[in-house]
Symmetry: C2
Subunit: 307 residues, 2 copies
């Protein structure tokens, strides 16, 4: 799957992933109105509105980008109905040929971590049958519990030809509270980065490992060092756009081959129509605004990379 | 909710939480057979079997213990149908008067962490209505992302009178890979423990804070130090039983008031009937075996605490 992701990035010339992190306040009124008319102001109505909203965006951008990254928390808050919308979104994106990165930030130990890996990347056995639960292509994973938490994911990835992105240095202001603390003269995020390199060594899928890392665009200097520590790991970079990261900050997340990083933008794309810069698009044309925002992001990154 | 948990621990004289972590191999054949006859070897059939199995255990132990801790991964692997079984389990346990600790180990930042907090502890708005998604009483939370990840949970807890347990030192063999690394002369888990104390200072619900901690029974010496670092935080202690923790190891997790810790056992209780020690119980009487295992665990802990 990492090779498919790389191939699609090259083919579409876009190291971009669209974060499908729907919030009710982003969804245009014509969509919520229709869903509520059909299902009432219920969790099912919310789930329906979320899926229709996502579908519009996906239809408008799927030919431009290699991947999407639905953030499961935004669906999980609507309970079962929200998770049905998550599953429908994953399935729809895959039908459109997109690589789906489940931003689930799961992490536990042993058989429990194996169950999370099964839920999101693998297949579960029921009697004599097997089924996939959510069936994303990649999942994000939290490293705090150590190898016991990561290994079960890697085992499933090996079996299913899928991949993970391990949180190394997150994009938020307080990420340094623990991640930047100095251990033997080096910050914790470097130690985690080294572990990601080791975990990924036997997990090559072409030029890159299917054990990747998450490093926030908001910390470009740290990204530069982590790029060197984990040369074979793809870096998933959140924090571009709404969180303050700019194209110029992204240069050092890439390798000299022009590959090795994929930049996420969520609300900057999916809620572009609410941004004054795109006010010529009305809420009825929200998906066209998203398409324009992708094109602008693509140009911004290309210019930063001097393409 | 922390006060209710403490009251129930005192009333039932049992600092014990039953981990409802169902695996298909634990479920007696008469239950799976019935579920598969009705729904086939499907995800729905699996979900039905899981819920019926849980229900039997809960009916057999609810008068003995204050709380249960369903591990959501074990349900999530069965996709939507598994999560329906999770939700039914949470609801059923609450009907029986049990405190429900959702072992979800979620953790993200800002609005995403707020969405997870809403999903598991809070209420979500749909138009003019509000709904609860999963509605546990407590949730476990991963601290790797720092205060940005924890604060949104605390905000929801304050509003809804609920609580969290933050992972500090986990019970698994490799937990030391990052958690034990030395920072300014002290291991990371102590730094996280100090942060838990600070996060919990303004969150008192009686004598204890509703910001608790997870510390594995497998590391009793570390538990002793963490007990002193976080005197007002309840400690949720996994790792008893199947993972090797014994009653005698638990003494230092408690405060001098005999409170401050709640010990989890999962397969040691829910799959007791498969343990040679309980072979007099057949699989038909699996719930009676679970009840006996709770009584034995209660005696083991009481003896360790010299009650």
């Amino acid at each position: 799957m990492i090779q498919k992701l790389v191939d699609e990035i090259v083919k579409k010339d876009a190291p971009i992933v669209v974060g499908l992190d729907p919030m009710m306040k982003f969804i245009p009124e014509h969509i919520t109105k229709k869903a509520f008319e059909e299902y009432g102001e219920t969790l099912k109505g919310a789930g329906e509105a979320i899926f229709e909203y996502n579908k519009g965006i996906v239809d408008a951008v799927y030919d431009l980008v290699p991947a999407v990254k639905p953030q499961i928390a935004m669906y999980e808050q609507f309970g079962i109905e929200g998770l049905i919308a998550f599953k429908k979104t994953v399935d729809y994106c895959k039908e459109k040929g997109l690589v789906v990165i489940g931003d689930v930030k799961r992490g536990d130990i042993g058989s429990t971590s194996a169950a999370y890996a099964t839920a999101h990347l693998g297949k579960v056995t029921v009697g004599s049958k097997t089924y996939a639960g959510f069936d994303e292509d990649f999942a994000t994973v939290n490293p705090y519990l150590g190898t016991d938490g990561i290994k079960p994911f890697i085992d499933v990835c090996k079996e299913e030809k899928k991949g993970i992105f391990v949180l190394v240095k997150t994009s938020n202001p307080s990420s340094g509270e623990f991640q930047d603390r100095i251990i033997d003269g080096r910050p914790l995020y470097e130690i985690v980065g080294e572990q990601v390199r080791k975990w990924g060594e036997d997990c090559m899928g072409g030029d890159y490992s299917y054990v990747g890392a998450v490093v926030g665009a908001t910390y470009p200097e740290m990204g530069k060092i982590l790029r060197e520590i984990m040369p074979k790991s793809y870096i998933l970079v959140p924090g571009y756009g709404a969180q303050g990261g700019k194209g110029a900050d992204l240069v050092h997340f890439f390798n000299k081959d022009g590959l090795g990083a994929i930049i996420n933008s969520s609300r900057g794309i999916i809620a572009a129509y609410q941004n004054p810069a795109y006010e010529k698009f009305s809420s009825l044309n929200y998906a066209d605004a998203s398409r324009q925002a992708v094109l602008d992001m693509k140009a911004d990154i290309a210019s930063a990379l001097h393409k």
